[in-house]
């Protein structure tokens, strides 16, 4: 697969390969579940944008609209025990990984009910019970962390439990992160130490206003960067959830067996601006429309409908369901209290000393039964 996929459209990273979907062996229930999860993320992000306009959310807010198939498809291909770490465009990963939307929303509202008690914000979503290791704001910084998560799972097997849990770590990064030294050092370490980590480049073609060709050498074939580390590279159509799932499943299974790292050129597109304050002057409406034509949600909807697996009514009630869920999570977030001022000196150190008051996990974990 890797070699094959490496060959395909070396020209533009923006044109999705549009493989035919779906694979027969996928039960309709699964496809419907994915559709719901993707729609949940989109609906959630739409509400985030509104809340941001209403000044309910502060700081930076980067939405995932257009890239839903990536998080949902990748997580579907992982096991719950597999660690996941990502960058600051992380709402989709948090929801796909199973964080209840209310904790995610409350975090952005800066409330105590948030996954990080309102201390992290949009860019820093963490969920220990779902093996989500953040949400990291510094471009590229999560790459060495991802290598470290994989190092730890391997160390656990080889040194501590002498077991074979063979967990696989997924480390997501944007195409812009390719140009950070941290990515380079992480790739080399992963290759040297045979770390079971897959670096999934969510290649949406832009880092803020900079197209990949302007910022990244070999921008039309970023998998060429994997060669110098002796790491396998795989290109995947990130606008087609079945391709994402199928290809990632193969790759993750292989990584679980071989404990060899891999790099994925996940072709996708961000429909909205980089953040809430981006007029997108750097790209054409035509280009945007082209990708809207490849919308991962519409695509799956269409298939399910054609395959007579999902009636319009069924779909509508499912979506209505989701809308209600998201409306309620917004309400919950609004009603959650702001953190008490005592929280300032809490969670700075595990240990209590001087003015520091130790640490306690967020309510989310207890409610998740941890």
């Amino acid at each position: 697969m890797s070699t094959a996929s490496k060959a395909t459209n070396p020209d533009s990273p923006l044109s999705p390969t549009g493989r035919a979907m779906p694979r027969p062996d996928l039960p309709p229930a699964t496809l419907k579940k994915w559709l719901r999860e993707m729609f949940l993320i989109r609906e959630f992000e739409v509400r985030c944008m509104q809340a941001y306009q209403d000044k309910k959310i502060g700081g930076f807010c980067h939405v995932y609209i257009g890239q839903e198939a990536v998080a949902v498809g990748c997580v579907a291909a992982m096991e719950p025990r597999d660690p996941l770490v990502t960058a600051y465009r992380d709402h989709g990963h948090a929801l796909a990984r199973g964080m209840a939307p209310k904790y995610c929303m409350a975090e952005m509202f800066g409330k105590i009910g948030g996954c990080a008690k309102g201390k992290g914000g949009s860019m820093h979503m963490f969920d220990k019970s779902n093996n989500l290791f953040g949400g990291h704001g510094i471009v590229g910084a999560q790459c060495p962390l991802g290598a470290g998560l994989a190092f730890a799972t391997k160390y656990e097997d080889e040194v501590i439990s002498k077991g074979t849990s063979n967990r696989v770590t997924l480390c997501f990064l944007g195409d812009g992160a390719l140009n950070q030294g941290a990515f380079h050092e992480a790739m080399n370490l992963a290759g040297l130490f045979d770390l079971p980590v897959i670096f999934v480049v969510e290649n949406n073609g832009y880092s803020m206003g900079t197209s990949i060709q302007r910022g990244t050498t070999m921008g039309s074939n970023i998998l060429s960067k994997a060669i110098g580390y002796g790491i396998e590279g795989v290109e995947i159509d990130g606008m087609d959830i079945v391709s994402v799932y199928a290809s990632m499943k193969d790759l993750i299974d292989r990584c679980r067996r071989t404990s060899r790292p891999a790099m994925v050129d996940m072709r996708t597109y961000r429909y909205k601006g980089h953040s809430m304050s981006d007029p997108r002057k750097y790209r054409t409406r035509e280009e945007e429309e082209k990708y809207e034509g490849h919308d991962p949600i519409t695509k799956l909807e269409k298939h399910l409908k054609e395959a007579k697996l999902l009636s319009d009514d069924e779909k509508e009630s499912m979506y209505e369901d989701v809308r209600t869920e998201v409306r309620e999570c917004v309400k919950w977030a609004e009603e959650s209290p702001v953190p008490s001022i005592e929280e300032l000196y809490h969670d700075v150190y595990v240990e209590k000393w001087g003015p520091y008051t130790g640490t306690t996990p967020p309510a989310m974990l207890k409610e998740a039964g941890q």
Binding site: G58, M123, Q180, G181
Partner: protein
């Protein structure tokens, strides 16, 4: 310029009282522009007079700057002098330092100084030490600039006050303007300076408007401005917190406490003479520094004032800093963490009461 600084860094006499509000040149009418425009004007004027000056950083050209500081500069100066980079702070900082060794005069924009941590080695190990390590052969005339400090609910990775880390290092100069007038005059000085300058802006201030005269002017380094004259307590600060100090001074005036507010303008060099002279008059001192307290510029002020004004102080120097915690995202926590007028008033009252 260079002579100028040397003098002003040395002599502390006749420090002008320049209220923020009244930064008018005697003649010309008010010309209020934003902080970001003031910085752009400074960069553009210097680029017109010196071809060796160029601007490099993320999104500075086609995007017109993540915070629109460089808006329009690509159109005027073209892609050879207004240069977009990938997200490679370490790489383009080092590149600019190499260019400076060759005699160019780069302006490096960090979208945020928080991102300069990935470039700590070139900006601390190369720029400020090249002249020394080469025995005087290669200077490094370069300006690093960008947003610094918390206040925008960006969370702890994006809210660094790098003055708390970097002001410790000899070989660099550090500037922290509080208003558009200073921003322009200090930026022009920074660009003409033959040594590396760390220029710390605040995203919270970029839209602040203030009078900036048409006529060219430069503001020397190491020359503080007294923002408000007073007799009871000296409040020393720089950058954004100066506004909180003035707010506090207003409030304290109603309580009959007269504050003298000193805006240091530059941290390296810091205008010690002006600070000491004021404290010798008021016999009380509060230092307001937005960085964390431990081993901070504020600690330096407290230590030196305690030393040089030992017999003048009626009360120990009080310090107002950000609380000693990572910057939280939640607005209520972040506001509580930062220096503010309330905290400054409390500090001023203690030192004055005791007097």
């Amino acid at each position: 310029m260079t002579q100028l600084h040397a003098q002003t860094a040395a002599d502390g006499e006749g420090t002008e009282v320049v209220p923020m509000s009244g930064l008018r040149d005697g003649a010309g009418a008010a010309r209020d522009i934003e902080f970001r425009d003031a910085i752009r004007e400074a960069m553009s004027e210097e680029m017109r007079r010196d071809q060796r000056v160029f601007l490099i950083g993320e999104e500075v050209a086609q995007y017109n700057g993540a915070y629109k500081v460089s808006r329009g500069m690509l159109d005027e100066f073209g892609p050879r002098r207004i240069i977009d980079t990938p997200i490679s702070e370490s790489g383009f900082s080092g590149l600019a330092i190499g260019a400076a060794m060759m005699g160019l005069r780069p302006i490096v924009e960090f979208m945020s100084w928080s991102f300069s941590l990935v470039a700590a080695d070139p900006i601390l190990n190369n720029a400020p030490k090249m002249l020394y390590m080469s025995g005087g052969q290669f200077g490094c005339p370069i300006v690093f600039r960008g947003n610094n400090g918390a206040g925008g609910q960006l969370g702890s990775t994006h809210s660094w006050c790098v003055e708390g880390l970097f002001s410790n290092v000899p070989g660099l100069k550090m500037v922290m303007p509080s208003n558009p007038y200073d921003a322009k005059g200090l930026m022009k000085t920074a660009i003409r300076d033959d040594d590396p300058v760390f220029f710390l802006e605040s995203e919270r201030l970029l839209s602040l408007k203030g009078h900036v005269p048409e006529a060219e002017y430069l503001i020397p380094f190491g020359k503080a401005a007294i923002r408000r004259a007073g007799t009871d307590v000296t409040i020393v600060s720089w950058g954004r917190p100066v506004h909180f100090c003035l707010e506090a001074a207003e409030a304290l005036a109603t309580e009959g406490i007269s504050c003298e507010v000193i805006d240091g303008r530059t941290i390296r060099p810091l205008d010690w003479d002006t600070i000491y002279a004021s404290v010798r008059k008021t016999n009380c001192c509060v230092v307001v520094d937005q960085s964390w307290s431990f081993a901070s510029p504020g600690a330096e002020v407290a230590a030196r004032v305690s030393l040089h004004c030992f017999d003048d102080l009626d009360h120990p120097v009080a310090r107002v800093h950000s609380n000693d915690v990572p910057a939280p995202y939640a607005s209520n926590l972040e506001q509580e963490m930062l220096p503010n007028a309330r905290k400054i008033c409390e500090a001023a009252r203690t030192v004055v009461r005791r007097a």
